[in-house]
Symmetry: C2
Subunit: 229 residues, 2 copies
């Protein structure tokens, strides 16, 4: 109700299952009176490569390019490239960040990883000794919503893929928690390509249902215990 | 001695510490009589985004774009884009894959993740029920060599970053092991930007030394026990 949500979406095809999950989130959250912004990374042709082009004007040290140092300096003097400034503004305004994507190789697709690499620069998302619970993006929530190729059984303690929580550690703890963002339970749709149409519909309904009570949820305790028992 | 090595390198600056590690590997392995190829991703302006452009000619299903299905079909009919075919050829010929990069957000930089996403397609790297020990890239070795921002203490069981092995799971198990590639111990240089010049030199020497006996190393047992005890 009046809350602002940024959905960072990484799928090439609107008719995909990820596309349906995005559509549901936009509709349900809008219905609740939230203001919803979508960064549709493929449609935006979002640049995933961290290069010198991210800095407008002169470099702090043009002798040897250091991306972390240069983006930090550029952030401080307002010299980051326009696409980054726009994404940072969306993040700044959001109460909740939802990341919607298909799991690629036990991780997010490169285009979404590039969003993390380039948008969450020092000075903006964290700073010297301002990380984890002291990170700069406090009072925000995040939620990783993704589809998998493998089944739920594969991603279990007995499965060859291991507990699905193992793949959540770098994303939830290493990125969101590092920036001070609180983490809600992930929303995982297992192998939608390999289940019946009925089961797929069930999964979509479950997402709608979850979103209805999302704002009452408590963040997870983002510590090693949650991930590795 | 006659072995072929592919180094996939993801750093923007040749004068960086990663650049020095790359140079050492090229020199030492060449001296041993190995044939060394480098994919210098930033210099190549390697495309990290998984899009329709990776398929030459017609799509299998142009109604709804499915990257996994389309690249699989394209691989079978020889219809992948030229840059991917070239990388796959390098992988095919290699006995050892070395990945050299700075850890970004508990993971590889987006440009390197994009290399994984786009090069290791179904049919080439794995196939239906041909994964993990049955993966298609058997008899190859891999080694993740990277630098961190955080210290070794931070990446320990007691540290806020957790055991460094946690971040290795998606890369080593989820990607390399999935494709049947054996995994050597990672090579990690902790926080080279925050240590003395002497310590940095020590780190470079340690890499040279390790490479001298690399071919005698046994792969790790790439199972959950190695990562999570």
């Amino acid at each position: 109700p009046g809350k602002k949500v940024l959905i960072v979406y990484a799928h090439q095809e609107p008719k995909s299952f990820n596309g349906s999950l995005l559509k549901i989130a936009v509709e349900e959250l809008t219905k609740q009176g939230c203001s919803v912004t979508v960064s549709d990374l493929y449609a935006m042709q979002f640049e995933p490569r961290a290069t010198r082009n991210d800095i407008v004007g002169h470099l702090h040290n043009s002798e040897a390019f250091n991306y972390g140092v240069e983006t930090w300096e550029a952030y401080k003097r307002g010299g980051l490239s326009k696409d980054l400034v726009e994404e940072q503004k969306k993040v700044q305004e959001a109460d909740l960040l939802i990341f919607q994507f298909p799991l690629f190789w036990f991780n997010m697709p490169a285009i979404l990883k590039g969003w993390m690499d380039r948008v969450l620069v020092q000075g903006f998302a964290y700073d010297l000794s301002k990380a984890y619970d002291g990170g700069l993006l406090q009072d925000k929530l995040s939620l990783f919503s993704f589809t998998t190729g493998g089944s739920q059984e594969m991603y279990s303690n007995e499965g060859i893929g291991g507990d699905i929580r193992y793949v959540l550690w770098p994303m939830q703890h290493g990125i969101m928690h590092f920036c001070g963002v609180k983490v809600l339970e992930p929303h995982i749709c297992y192998a939608p390509e390999n289940v019946s149409e009925d089961k797929r519909k069930e999964m979509l309904t479950a997402w709608t249902q979850r979103l209805k009570t999302l704002w009452k949820e408590e963040p997870i305790d983002c510590s090693p215990e949650w991930y590795f028992k």
